[in-house]
């Protein structure tokens, strides 16, 4: 994986990387991806992918009102709140 690809992927994943991390990951990731190529020899024609290992019957919850977190509890884990709302970075 070339460094410009590491930059692109890190940008998609929203992770700032230092120059040292970029260099390290570039090398590590190439080796890891090479080791994943073992899968190339597997024949998977007409094989369906498994997204969940055990089939769970669709189990919807009963449609009834339940208690949930209070506003105070929901906001208790951040200092970034204002007037009872979460505060976040600017989007525009």
């Amino acid at each position: 994986m070339k460094q410009n690809i590491v930059d692109k992927v890190a940008s998609v994943a929203k992770i700032s990387l230092t120059a040292a991390e970029k260099n390290k990951f570039e090398k590590d990731i190439k080796n890891i991806l090479d080791s994943f190529n073992e899968l190339d020899s597997a024949t998977v024609t007409r094989i369906k992918p498994t997204f969940q290992p055990v089939e769970a019957k669709t189990a919807l919850r009963e449609d009834k009102e339940e208690s949930c977190l209070t506003q105070k509890e929901a906001l208790a884990n951040t200092a970034l709140n204002e007037k009872g709302f979460f505060k976040g970075p600017k989007a525009i």
Binding site: M1, I5, V6, V9, A10, S11, V12, A13, K14, I15, S16, L17, T18, E21, F25, D28, I29, N31, I32, L33, S35, F36, N37, E38, L39, A42, V44, I47, K48, P49, T50, F51, Q52, P53, V54, A56, K57, T58, A59, R61, E62, L69, E73, A74, A76, N77, T78, A79, L80, F86, K87, G88, P89, K90, A91
Partner: protein, 463 residues
Amino acid sequence: MKYENMPTAQFIKESNNGNINYNDFYRKFFEKLKEADKKYNLLITQNTKKPTITKGKITALPLSVKDCICTRNIKTTAGSKILENYIPPFDATAIKKLKEQGGVIVGKTAQDEFGHGTFSTNCAYKIPKNPLDPKRSCGGSSGGAGGLVAALNMPHIAIAESTGGSISAPAAFTGTVGITPTYGRVSRYGLIDYANSLDKIGAMGKTVEDAALALNIMSGHDPMDETSINEKVPDFLTATKKDIKGMKLGVPKEYFSEKIDDKIKNIIWDKIKHLETLGATYEKCSLPTTKYTIPSYYIIAMCETSTNLAKFCGMRYGAAEDLKGRDFNEYFSDIRGKYLGEEAKRRIILGTYARMAGYRDQYYLKAMKVRTLIINDYKKAFKKYDCLVSPTMPFIAPKFKDIEKLTPVENYFADILTAGPNLAGIPMISVPAGTHQSMPVGMHILAGHMQEEKILQIAGATH
């Protein structure tokens, strides 16, 4: 009353009969807990408040909980700096059930950040040391759990979690018992995801009965988790005492390959021969897809973790900073870059890459299809055998100085015997089988989906 080396069942009996002086017991217990933590770095958070006693199936029994499982009003970090000050306002369903039956949460155990590791060396906090040899790893990612079970000689069960072998590995390396149930047997509600289609809450203890007892309480359908299985839960404790006469064991040749330490293979063969004397029969068999388990597991786990961990971005909970006019791209990237550890970043980057346009079919979809082949291999085997048996780990607990030298690819190889069963979501248990170089060796016992009773039956007979 003497509590040292008291079996869990006896403690519960004495507790329910009113024979335990809880002030006295917990004073001694917390002393030993603090001492073990000081020596071996096993806890991220100690909870040594005077407990409220509730009567139930495990009245006043001390429980430690892996730090990725939410515990109400007790700090829960999943081993990451990005959740350093997170205090959940709710209990995971498994914890709620254990508390309702009298369990007392005594602390949160050390782990690899978000479960990303096999040796508990990818820790944002302290690195747990193996109580049997502090120069060696406890295994991971539930290293603190395994280490604490090994270090404490008091009644205690550790609640742990496995994604690719994170219960079995520390059980093998610390000489303890670790059970990982079928995917969906125990609710994942309140478990901080590493990889949602692989994560399973399980238990570790000194005995097979301890593991079965905790699983009895935690199992069952939970409307709060749509992947939770709605099936009757049998009594797992009864299974541990059942005769194994007539049970058929499969011994996969790929799990005894030249990559596995010869001494370990011999110890497991001795154990298999012992099971034969108790009436079980065995046959060598083959799981041809074993060579695909490491790449398939790591691709799926990394893809899932790259989405599961997207929520940790410095808002609502966890690490946060003054916004300083930064836009969301800058702010989220800065927070994640600063507070996520190296292995978490590596796995997120790889998982994001493997899901990107142009690579998705080559990596992610291919791994998901190979996963089907792996599951089919196990299903075929379990038509013929009640259980499969093998070593749990390819080597004994490694020394930290040797772990440091491993490349990521060599590191991932350590999961060669545990990644397959975890990908398939089948139940597994690791039990002590002997020692090599004075370190414990674990035997891994696997069975088909929802067949926990069978692995417990064989495990019970190994003692």
